[in-house]
Amino acid sequence: MNDPAQMSANLVVAGVGGQGVVLAGNIISEVTLAYGLDVKKAEVHGMSQRGGSVSAQVRFGPEVHGVLVEKGRLDWIVAFEWAEALRWLPLLGSHGSVFASTEQVIPPVSLRDRVEGKVRYPLEFTQHPRIRAFDASGLARQAGNVKTAGVALLGALSSALPFSVEAWHQAIKEWVPAKAVEVNLRAFDLGRQWQSAPPPRPVPVSELVPRQVWLSLEESWCKGCGICVNVCPERIWRLNERNVVEVQEVERCTGCGLCEKLCPDLAIDVVVESASAAAWGGAKLWQPN
């Protein structure tokens, strides 16, 4: 892998709308093109306006055929956002590794509870041996503009790839707006210098125990407005022929509490502990997990 002109790898840049994921994919592609490599890139950015996931898969090598990375074949994940890195872990190969920003972008419809619902994953995540998480936004601020966090991550990634700093600088110059070149180059260099991961946060054992979640619906209060149907990230609720909601695939419920907090008719309860669920007198009770 030390000969850059023979190197081949599969990467994904993951983040949320507005973080510059597509731009970062372009910069990586530009660098590999400068070495005469073949490169294929595929982006997904459907829901980006709402802070949704954006990703760019980049495959490069002497010859590349398909654009999409197969499961277990991903060499690098460059994640601009904490939770976005997790989505790609199943694709990561046995020797692959991750550069992730510790930045947490909470989507507008998400609530504090949703973060708590996910808390197990980010904590495991810092302990994952192949994940190098660091405060890219901090470096970017140090460089002079917090928006350069993505380029700082590219800097960190670059230390693991055989391409020259000049090639990276050149690619950055080509892709970022002229007035932002200086600050982006500074962010890149800071990212490249970044070496050691911050000490992982200790994980309280209790937080690793899977949470018990129950859902309860007071049918007689539901007016069938459909808010819960559309707001649930796991699509648990659906309206039935009586225009009242019911659950489907309830085991996917993460206990995020969105449906409960946004139901105007107070019809839904998300009960997160077994003890309170046992004492619960709700009209309908499902135990998803």
Partner: protein, 277 residues
């Protein structure tokens, strides 16, 4: 689980609000905050005027007072001066609090009575049939502006700030946790605290402006600015596909906070303390 549900009057439920009405979400948040803050609602009074928003006090098992149109703040001021030991929360709507009762709002703010006023702002008069309200944004359709509103809307938060409110915040139904936090801070505040809550009238405002019902209308709030800011000078407008500024971008969060003696303190009322219920 929302512990606030224990505070509801079960015989009154389900409430009368239309399907998907944003007021229900605010009620959802309000009872959660009340349940967290007060072990008992014996020393908490909820005073409301007239309108869909004002209806919600009837569902909460506290000391509730359903008063005349626009006059909730006047009743509340009297109540607070007579019983300074009580926590008095005013629930009003934009039509009630800014239209019919606009004058009472500015004077309550001026006096700095230790009240918390929650203004449910759905940009229309819901209960009376979806008429134009002083908060209806320019160009929006209502039953009384069939060709689009030609007037400029009040900015309730700016108005309250200018009138002398010592705590002014804005939240929205779409972000219940932000709202939860703002209501908490407003109740912590000593003096006149005002929370402008952007909510939705699905039945009239949503329908007349083709913004969709339930979740569509709720999601249209996501276009509002989330930034928690104190800068009141920036009020950019968002345009809908037809070029109408149906949903203005409004600053959210705590917009103003100052410290000034309350009317109760100035009057030296005995028994006055910060009402903790």
């Amino acid at each position: 689980m929302n512990p606030g549900k224990a505070l509801l009057r079960p015989d009154m439920m389900p409430h009368i609000l239309c399907p998907g009405c944003g007021h229900g979400i605010v009620l959802n948040v309000l009872i959660r905050v009340l349940a967290r803050r007060y072990a008992s609602l014996d020393k908490v009074a909820l005073v409301a005027g007239i309108g869909c928003s004002s209806r919600i006090v009837g569902y909460i098992d506290a000391n509730t007072l359903h008063t005349t149109h626009g006059r909730a703040l006047s009743f509340a001021t009297g109540l607070k001066l007579a019983r300074p030991d009580m926590t008095v929360i005013v629930v009003t709507g934009d039509g009630d609090g800014l239209g019919i009762g606009g004058n009472h709002l500015i004077h309550a703010a001026r006096r700095n009575v230790d009240l918390t006023c929650i203004l449910f702002n759905n940009e229309t008069y819901g209960m009376t049939g979806g008429q134009l309200a002083p908060t209806t944004v320019t160009q929006a359709y209502t039953t009384t502006s069939p060709y689009g509103n030609r007037e400029r809307a009040f900015d309730a938060a700016l108005l309250a700030t200018a009138a002398g409110a010592t705590f002014v915040a804005r939240g929205q139904a779409f972000r219940p946790d932000l709202l939860d936090d703002l209501l908490d801070q407003a109740l912590d505040h000593r003096g006149f605290s005002f929370v402008d809550v952007m909510t939705d009238c699905t039945e009239y405002f949503g329908r007349k402006n083709a913004l969709g019902g339930g979740s569509d209308l709720l999601f249209s709030q996501s276009r509002s600015d989330v930034e928690v800011t104190r800068d009141l000078n920036e009020w950019p407008q968002l345009q809908d596909p037809h070029g109408f500024a149906i949903r203005e971008t409004l600053a959210m969060g705590v917009l103003h906070e100052s410290d000034r003696p309350t009317l109760e303190a100035v009057m030296g009322l005995s028994g006055y303390r910060r009402g903790e219920g």
